[in-house]
């Protein structure tokens, strides 16, 4: 990565030049999926062996949402050592913001045919729309909230935690507590988010039927685009000097302070950007699965996301996305074939990765490639790259 942030002219190079080999492979795969999946769904007749059924389109779209969540998590965990066990909360908040928009789109087509109030409010005998539901009939407003609500929570949480220098296990526990508190809150009927059942029975998004084949394909493409944008934002951040400071904080936090960096501000910025990305992932997830309920806040979801990143390789971005897709593919398969062993399989996977693959799949591949290159003159930038992906954060900063 040396020199990636600056070229010989001392200028910040174009974004495209910041993408490395595995980044290009990643972008190519996502782009190919964005073209092929809808094509094979819409243009290939149902009987054909090449036809991709609509439910598979939605399933793949869900995987891409998880990939974006994993990318967001990798930005703070892989590069800054902030092990968030509460990223599912940001994902769910983005999901609820989108869900509220979709609820308002139902309009008078609900069971109770109330033009203003969603069914669950009529059922609870509510007479008017709570103030925080206002504005969600507008897509731009809802889209803004998808970014703002998780971003604001991350800002407040991060500012309090990082300023008080909460780190390590304590921080992880606090993030778990945060998502658990939200889980309990969203379960309550009087919160006005549909309680236990959450938000569902969606009809339209931007005037198109959410269930329609074409809408599903469009949502898939939108998710692929969001994933690519998320990757580009994260890649820009980690290759800039800002990213180098993040890694410095990860490896030797107090040393970074003694150089005059305000560690808490750096952490808050990363945490907020990451939370917003997770929010977008959640917002794209909801129309594709057709429901959002409080279980999305469950602490286990956030822990699962950490496992995806660990499996793919923390501190590599691409690895995080890959891990999310692979693990969820396994989950879909196993929960179908042998539902009772899924949790054990996940636990086992985590143990195996921690013990034998500390740098995850991508770390392993990078290492393999380096070993092959050892014979020829060693590519320095690759070596530096591997260092960035170092899983074991060096205990540092001790005076």
């Amino acid at each position: 990565m040396s020199g990636a942030g600056t070229n010989s002219m001392g200028r910040r190079p174009l974004l495209l030049s910041l993408i490395d080999g595995k980044g290009w492979i990643f972008l190519a795969v996502v782009a190919a999926a964005a073209v092929l999946v809808p094509l094979l769904n819409l243009a290939v007749p149902e009987g054909s062996a090449f036809h991709v059924p609509t439910y598979v389109v939605a399933l793949l779209g869900k995987y891409l949402c998880y990939a974006l969540l994993a990318l967001a998590l990798d930005l703070v965990w892989g590069y800054c050592g902030i092990l968030s066990l509460g990223h599912g909360a940001f994902f769910a908040l983005g999901g609820y913001a989108m869900g509220m928009y979709l609820m308002r789109q139902i309009g008078p087509r609900g069971v109770y045919a109330n033009p203003l109030l969603p069914d669950f409010m009529v059922f609870l005998n509510w007479k008017e729309l709570p103030w925080y539901w206002h504005g969600f009939d507008s897509f731009p407003f809802a889209a803004l909230m998808v970014l703002l609500v998780p971003g604001l929570l991350a800002l407040v949480f991060g500012w309090l935690a990082f300023r008080s220098r909460v780190t390590g296990v304590y921080l992880s526990i606090m993030t778990q507590a945060m998502t658990f508190a939200l889980l309990l809150a969203f379960f309550r009927n009087d919160m006005g988010f549909g309680g236990n059942n959450g938000l569902t029975d969606f009809k339209d998004i931007l005037g198109f039927n959410v269930q329609a084949q074409t809408t599903r394909c469009a949502l898939f493409v939108a998710t692929a685009i969001a994933l690519v944008l998320g990757y580009l934002v994260a890649r820009y951040m980690v290759t800039s000097t800002y990213g180098k400071v993040l890694v410095a904080i990860r490896d030797a936090e107090s040393r970074t302070r003694f150089l005059g960096y305000r560690v808490e501000t750096y952490k808050v910025v990363a945490f907020v950007v990451s939370a917003m990305m997770a929010g977008v992932a959640g917002a794209l997830y909801v129309p594709q699965v057709g429901i959002i309920n409080p279980s999305e806040f469950s602490p286990a979801n956030s822990i699962e996301a950490v496992i995806w990143v660990a499996v793919g390789g923390r501190g590599t971005l691409v690895g995080a996305a890959l891990g999310a897709v692979l693990v969820n593919f396994g989950k879909t398969y196993l929960t179908g074939a042998l539902p009772e062993i899924w949790l054990f399989a996940l636990g086992l996977l985590f143990v195996v990765v921690t013990l034998f693959l500390p740098k995850g799949i991508v770390g392993l591949l990078t290492q393999k490639r380096q070993q092959r290159q050892e014979i020829s003159p060693r590519d320095e930038s690759l070596a530096a790259e591997a260092g960035i992906g170092e899983a074991g954060a060096v205990e540092g900063g001790k005076a």
Partner: protein, 252 residues
């Protein structure tokens, strides 16, 4: 007595400083002043409070009582580490602490004096640091041939030098250097003394060290710390013939 801090020519002024850890007085009514451009060696047995003194100056540890002033007027006890660093106080740790997963050049890049905010690091000046500035520092600390290596791969002595290079890159007014030659060969130690003397020409420097030959090489005033306060102060010859100092060192 209130000292005339604004007028006295001190870069560092400590008076009546005390710090207790769990009932143990690590720093006990410590007084020390350093003039602009001065180099000072601090010696003292293990546990004398040398590192704790640096912790207090750099904001890592808050003293229980006492005055700590920088440049005659700035009260350091109210500031945090980052603010103190940005005032122009740089520090090398006792255990060499460099950013192991960054290259040698990037370690210097991060240390170089410039804006420190995230905005600048994302989009601004921090990304436009001229390579010559990095190379210049690396030449001084003789790591220019290693500039693309990972800091983790350096030898112990090279890490010490890299950290000194990071200090130089910060271009502080005052450098606090904690045991810079621990783990170095005699030749490296002599080089380090030469380097520090050179740095001291236009910086104020405080060096903590056990190695007497090295301290003699530094050729500057020596302060002996013992049980958290100053036991003796003067030339190396004067303090090493001081009876109380001999007692403290031999009496252990």
């Amino acid at each position: 007595m209130i000292p005339d801090r604004g007028l006295t020519n001190t870069v560092l002024y400590l008076d009546g400083v005390s710090k207790t850890f769990d009932g143990f007085r690590a720093i006990n009514n410590l007084a020390l002043t350093l003039e602009h451009g001065e180099m000072r060696a601090i010696i003292g047995p293990n546990g004398a409070g040398k590192t704790t003194m640096m912790d207090i100056i750099t904001g890592k540890t808050k003293p229980d009582e006492g005055d700590v002033y920088f440049d005659g007027t700035t009260d350091l006890t109210t500031l945090d580490e980052a603010s103190i660093a940005n005032l122009g106080i740089g520090r090398k740790f006792q255990k060499p602490t460099v950013f192991e997963s960054h290259t040698v050049a990037d370690n210097i890049r991060l240390a170089l004096k410039d804006e420190r905010g995230p905005w600048s690091a994302l989009f601004g000046a921090r990304n436009r640091i001229a390579p010559e500035r990095i190379e210049h520092i690396l030449e001084i600390v003789r790591l220019i041939d290693h500039h693309e290596r990972l800091a983790a791969d350096l030898s112990h002595g090279q890490k010490q030098w890299l950290e000194i290079g990071m200090l130089l890159a910060q271009d502080p007014k005052l450098l606090l250097v904690d045991e810079p030659v621990a783990g170095m060969t005699d030749a490296e130690t002599a080089d380090t003394a030469r380097l520090l003397r050179e740095i001291a020409r236009d910086h104020s420097v405080v060096v903590v060290e056990h190695d007497m030959a090295f301290v003699r090489d530094l050729d500057c005033k020596v302060t002996v710390l013992h049980e958290g306060s100053v036991l003796a102060e003067g030339t190396i010859d004067a303090v090493s013939s001081n009876e109380r100092v001999i007692e403290v060192y031999l009496g252990r």
